[in-house]
């Protein structure tokens, strides 16, 4: 029972991380290799806000969310926009460079010490008893709730709003979309903003749940297995992808060794690449097989 609860909590964390990731890939075809750093920055935002600006929980979360959103826009307008005419290859290399830059900046500003933003927020991370003898922490519940909320919002946004429709159009065919009068840069920037926002929330809740140090970006790297299992361009693939990867990880922790849990997601990734490289829900034509 406890394993099931852990599985749900971990997979909702992965869901939070990967929704934004898929959105960025869908609209701009760029693998964002700095996604893990975005996540760590989300955690540091809530830490700084709670310490320096407002220490009430809800306003500080909102302010930190705005910061995360701003980070995405900032990155797009000051870096990725310049890579627009270049090859995707160069753009991906630029995200690698951005990642190392952000990692350096975070340790420069916040040092590599372990912080607990929770103590500044005045909240407690109590554990609750569920049916049976399974335990779940408050922020575990938060993870599940916000993942469900984010997925639902994104689904609604992409399916039923005008902006969502345009974003899908941009992702499908940027040339035609821009000819129909869609401002490409606006929608690219929006996807980067939402991407950073989603992963930022993941970072904030994770920071509250188990502390904050620069090593957090490694959790963000596990986004790759998740999105690849689900299909790189498929938003609905994120949920099964997250479940499969989380299941592999929890299995490895319990039955092999804690060290193995670090590699389990990547073993899944490799397996998926061999069997079904376009993922569970990804479009096959999308890949242009060689």
């Amino acid at each position: 029972m406890q394993h099931v609860v852990n599985l749900v909590v971990l997979s909702s964390l992965y869901c939070l991380i990967c929704c934004g990731y898929v959105l960025i890939y869908r609209s701009s075809r760029i693998l964002n290799l700095a996604h893990g750093e975005f996540m760590a920055l989300g955690g540091y935002f809530i830490f700084t806000v709670s310490m320096g600006i407002v220490s009430k929980p809800i306003p500080s979360f909102l302010v930190a969310c705005v910061f995360s959103l701003g980070l995405g826009f900032f990155v797009y307008f000051f870096l990725m926009k310049f890579m627009a005419g270049e090859s995707i290859f160069a753009a991906v290399l630029a995200t690698i460079a951005l990642g190392i830059l952000l990692r350096g900046l975070t340790t420069l500003i916040w040092t590599s010490q372990l912080w607990y933003p929770l103590q500044y927020l005045g909240l407690e991370n109590a554990s609750h008893q569920l049916i049976g003898d399974a335990m779940i922490s408050t922020f575990g519940i938060m993870k599940v709730l916000s993942a469900v909320l984010l997925c639902a919002c994104l689904f609604f946004f992409l399916k039923f709003t005008k902006w969502g429709l345009r974003m899908r159009a941009v992702g499908e065919n940027p040339l035609l979309a821009s000819q129909r009068g869609i401002a490409l840069h606006k929608y690219y920037a929006l996807s980067w903003g939402i991407g950073a926002f989603g992963v930022g929330i993941a970072g904030m809740i994770q920071a509250c749940d188990s502390g904050l140090d620069p090593g957090m970006f490694v959790i963000g790297l596990k986004a790759f297995p998740v999105v690849l299992v689900g299909g790189l361009d498929s938003l609905k693939g994120v949920i099964p992808g997250a479940l499969i990867v989380a299941a592999a990880e929890i299995f490895a922790i319990n039955y092999i060794s804690p060290q193995a849990s670090e590699v389990a997601p990547f073993a899944v990734l490799l397996l998926m690449l061999l069997i079904r490289p376009w993922g569970l829900f990804g479009t096959k034509e999308e890949l242009e097989r060689v």
Partner: protein
């Protein structure tokens, strides 16, 4: 191609030669003399730096062949170096194997890993190699860590200096000459490789894979060969790394190391062996340059504790600046400067550069 205009190739030999003009011969001889004399004049610190550059150069050329010529991004470079280093360390620790066994064994490990991890990505276009090599990094790191804990080498494995016959390679000067020799062999190999059928096929795939396939280039074969050659060379670098440091531990092979190698090929200039050399020199020396700048300006001593993160930031910034403003890297800058002086006082551009 030549240093001055008015140079024409009239024979097949001159068309095939690696060193084309007399002035280039002069430069080459000067370079070789400089390389030979360096360890006699240099201090121990400079010699260690030179050795680090020479070690990094192997990995950097390997990555240049893969990224710069074949156009595939690899994020598993540190993993491959670790694989070579751990092969060496394990063979040495468990069997007491000498270097003439560990060296080819590391190369073999590289070939096997290159084959297995190259396979999934070659069926697909795009950036799939980046993802599968990221998996490679974590799996090798896990295997290394598992070996360390199982055998009780919690901090790392100690490797004694290698001996070739009666000679033990321990003196930094001797290391310098050995590495120099290997690097020169490697540079000649790489220069010849990229102008052979294989190298041209790689460049065709990099530039437009559909067109390359239409010309009859087997994409899967050439992509896999690029990744395998690159990973063999990288594992050999790992083997030498283990012997040079005398110590192998998983912590040394972090993702940062991968990014350093990626930085070398970007900063040096993608698609040029000279770029790999310049990039390796630049990236290895950068932390020391930053440190000495900090010392010269007497910035508060508090800053020195942040040296590590300052290096991160500088790497990121410089990579971004090169990607956005000068995609052809240090080589591009060098060629522009050179052409300016060749053509002076005229200003028109040369047709074929480099």
């Amino acid at each position: 191609m030549a240093f001055a205009s008015g140079y024409f190739k009239t024979t097949y030999e001159s068309d095939l030669s690696l060193v084309e003009t007399r002035s280039r011969w002069v430069c080459l001889v000067a370079l070789i003399v400089g390389l030979t004399v360096l360890p006699i004049l240099a201090s121990a610190f400079v010699l260690d730096l030179a050795n680090q550059v020479l070690l990094a150069l192997i990995g950097s050329i390997a990555l240049m062949l893969l990224t710069g010529y074949a156009g595939q991004i690899s994020l598993g470079h540190a993993g491959l170096i670790a694989a070579g280093a751990f092969t060496t360390a394990i063979l040495y620790k468990e069997l007491g194997a000498p270097i003439w066994i560990t060296f080819p064994a590391s190369a073999l490990t590289g070939a096997v890993l290159g084959f297995t991890f190259g396979l999934p990505s070659l069926r697909l276009k795009g950036l799939y190699l980046a993802l599968s090599t990221l998996a490679l990094h974590f799996i090798v790191a896990y295997a290394g860590a598992e070996y360390e804990t199982q055998r009780g080498f919690a901090t790392g494995v100690i490797v004694d200096p290698p001996s070739l016959g009666p000679i033990t390679i321990q003196d930094p000067r001797l290391w310098y000459y050995v590495l120099c020799f290997l690097d020169i062999l490697l540079v000649i190999f790489a220069l010849n490789l990229v102008r052979s059928r294989m190298g041209r096929a790689w460049m065709a795939i990099r530039d437009r894979d559909v067109a390359a396939e239409a010309l009859g280039i087997k994409l899967s074969f050439y992509k896999l060969s690029a990744f395998m050659i690159s990973s063999v060379l990288t594992s050999i670098a790992g083997c030498l790394f283990a012997y040079y440091r005398g110590f192998v531990s998983v912590e040394a092979f972090s993702l940062l190391m991968t990014i350093q190698y990626v930085a070398m090929v970007i900063i040096g200039g993608l698609g040029s062996i000279l770029g790999a050399i310049l990039g390796a020199i630049f990236v290895v020396l950068l932390p020391y340059i930053i440190e000495s700048v900090v010392k010269v300006f007497h910035v508060s001593t508090r800053l020195t504790t942040y040296m590590f993160s300052i290096n991160h930031v500088m790497f990121g910034l410089i990579m971004i600046v090169f990607l956005v403003l000068e995609p052809s890297g240090l080589v591009g800058i060098w060629i522009r400067i050179r052409n300016y002086f060749i053509l002076w006082p005229f200003k028109h551009k040369t047709l074929g550069d480099r």
